[in-house]
Symmetry: C2
Subunit: 338 residues, 2 copies
DNA sequence: TCGTAACAATGAAACGATTCAAAGAATTGA
DNA sequence: TCAATTCTTTGAATCGTTTCATTGTTACGA
């Protein structure tokens, strides 16, 4: 098996100097038409493909950007990844994707890997507290943008979604359609995202003197956990039932919906209106299409790349920016009968 | 901002030769304890991180493997990716992930990129017909393993799942629980996977003289499409209803389930048993937990990496292998009441 | 004490691309 | 025709690592 052709082989084959081949590839208009044709022919003959390692070595930097997400299976991140890839492609960069799976160890592994690869920068949705590690990186010239986590602006740029606003939107929508006895269903209120959503909901409720908000803690962020909560609600169907339910994510909401509709004692949205969060694909195809809060995933991914570019271009001192996006209300039949 | 430290800086700082630093990193036991300590200290002082581009350049090959999937959002691929990453990590390789999104253009883009990166090999779940392109790659020393597509063994190794067997399993299970008037629900029968599942189902049915199989074509592979099919079934609830339904994927099955249960005229599994395919996360948390066919995703990913390693080690002529896995039946309440 | 073997450390060469100063060729105007 | 100018091409130096033949050092038995 023959070694893959190098630029030197191409030069020999075409009868020119290596510098000329390089020029054909990088500055085509510095080269005469005649030689260009010859060189391109040689490239084709030999099946030459640039060796990226050599380019990088010489350039001192790669054309890749590292992106570490918590879970590639999560549609939220999948969408962010895709947007980031597209945005990066515009400036000729590629995205290296790492899935930490919520594990600090895997996260650390990817940071190491990306640092060895001399990535242009790092986008990360951190598992634990990696700010020290990231500080280090920055000192070594690897700028970092936090994704889906607001950052101390003196240290990092970040893109995130305003969960408080999202919570407000959801609760306010329930209130706007006339509901007053609201319930919030969420697991692990310690998670910042969940806590913020609850806080936003509380804010909305406080604007209506006659409204109340009950908090129901679920055992997890899953459909099953939602169904457990739903079952306990069914038992209260006569009277004590909330007339508006806001779930911290769509999975919980779907679970609650299943419990409520299965018994046919509670009608959605007549007896109780239901809204989720995330607007996953399944929301639209639920038994009763689920109202939800949609996060601007494309904008997140795109902006993260842009912030990184900003940081890269303004070498040296740079004002970090924390960009916070506002989520969007998606109304479906689980809150408003057509 | 100071340039990142190189191995030469480390050598100076520690007062040794560059070769020694390299030895500390790659062959620690060739180096005396004393120098090792000093070098490691220097590495720490300067925050030295190996430059992977230089390593690669010297080595002539990278320690990465390219993996191109059709859709990272698809849980099937997500699982394969994760398994491949883990398997690759065992031999010290990393996986570069590319999402073609079913687009030949993106696929081609990633192949180019990976070729420039001099990946050790390529795992690909191809969009279109890329065999020519892959032949080229192989000639240039980049072995390829096809994922989720059986390959002509004279040209490529491959890992795939026996969809015919899966179809047989599903239909046979319905027959085994006493159903005889079966229906197959699937979209785009032209897709090999779908066609094979149907064929397998037919095979099972042919083993029971008194059994029949009706084919219902859906408009897509989605919950909504399933619901449409389900609605048409509800209208036949008195008499003409199949007593066993096999859907080509879980989304369709969930849609069908929604339609059937919503009306409360059809009971699952009493009136009709329902089975899907893929065993997605949602299957277990459906209103009636869905029986399904599970594909051995971990084995797929792991084996793909192994086949690649085989091909890499046996340089030169190599017997390709097409490994075909057998899917597994997962029985839940949609086919068998506890 | 010496010779030998085992062990450590050295540093130049190589990997393949890009860069850039310098040389060479072609073109222009007088 | 010649000098000045512009356009092409050249090839050595460089990036940071690994490799390996060579040199230097230490330990040990005779």
């Amino acid at each position: 098996m023959s070694r893959t052709a190098s630029i030197k082989d191409v030069a020999n084959h075409a009868g020119v100097a290596v510098g000329t081949v390089s020029n054909v590839l990088n500055y085509p208009d510095r080269v005469s038409e005649r030689t260009k044709v010859r060189v391109l022919q040689a490239i084709d003959d030999l099946g030459f493909v640039r060796n990226d390692a050599a380019r990088q070595l010489r350039a001192g930097q790669s054309r890749t950007i590292g992106l570490i997400v918590l879970d590639v299976g999560n549609p939220f991140f999948t969408a962010v990844v895709r947007a980031a890839e597209d945005a990066a492609a515009l400036s000729g960069s590629a995205v290296l994707l790492g899935d930490s799976g919520h594990k600090a160890e895997r996260e650390s592994h990817y940071i190491d890997l990306f640092q060895e690869q001399r990535v242009q920068g790092l986008l990360i949705s951190p598992v634990g507290d990696v700010t020290e590690r990231l500080d280090q990186l920055r000192e070594r010239g690897v700028p970092t943008v936090l994704v889906d986590r607001r950052a101390d602006e003196t240290r990092f740029s970040s893109v995130s979604v305003d969960d408080d606003a999202g919570g407000y939107l959801a609760a306010r929508h329930l209130l706007d359609v006339g509901r007053r006895r609201l319930a919030f269903v969420g697991a692990s209120l310690a998670i910042r995202q969940v806590a913020d959503r609850l806080q936003g909901a509380r804010r909305a409720v406080s604007e209506f003197p006659d409204a109340s908000l009950e908090v129901l803690e679920a055992e997890g962020q899953t459909v099953l956990a939602g169904r457990t909560v739903g079952n306990s609600l069914v038992e209260r169907a006569d009277g004590g039932l909330p007339d508006g339910i806001f779930c911290a994510n769509d999975l919980l909401a779907l679970g609650v919906m299943q419990s409520l509709t299965m018994m046919h004692t509670v009608r959605i949205p007549e007896d109780t209106a239901l809204i989720g969060y995330d607007d996953i694909d399944f929301a639209v195809s639920a038994v009763v299409p689920l109202s939800s809060i949609r996060q601007p995933t494309e904008a997140l991914g795109r902006t993260a790349i842009e912030l990184l570019a900003e940081e890269n271009s303004s070498n040296g001192e740079h004002q970090h920016r924390a960009v916070v996006f506002t989520p969007e209300l998606v109304v479906r039949q689980s809150t408003v009968r057509d």
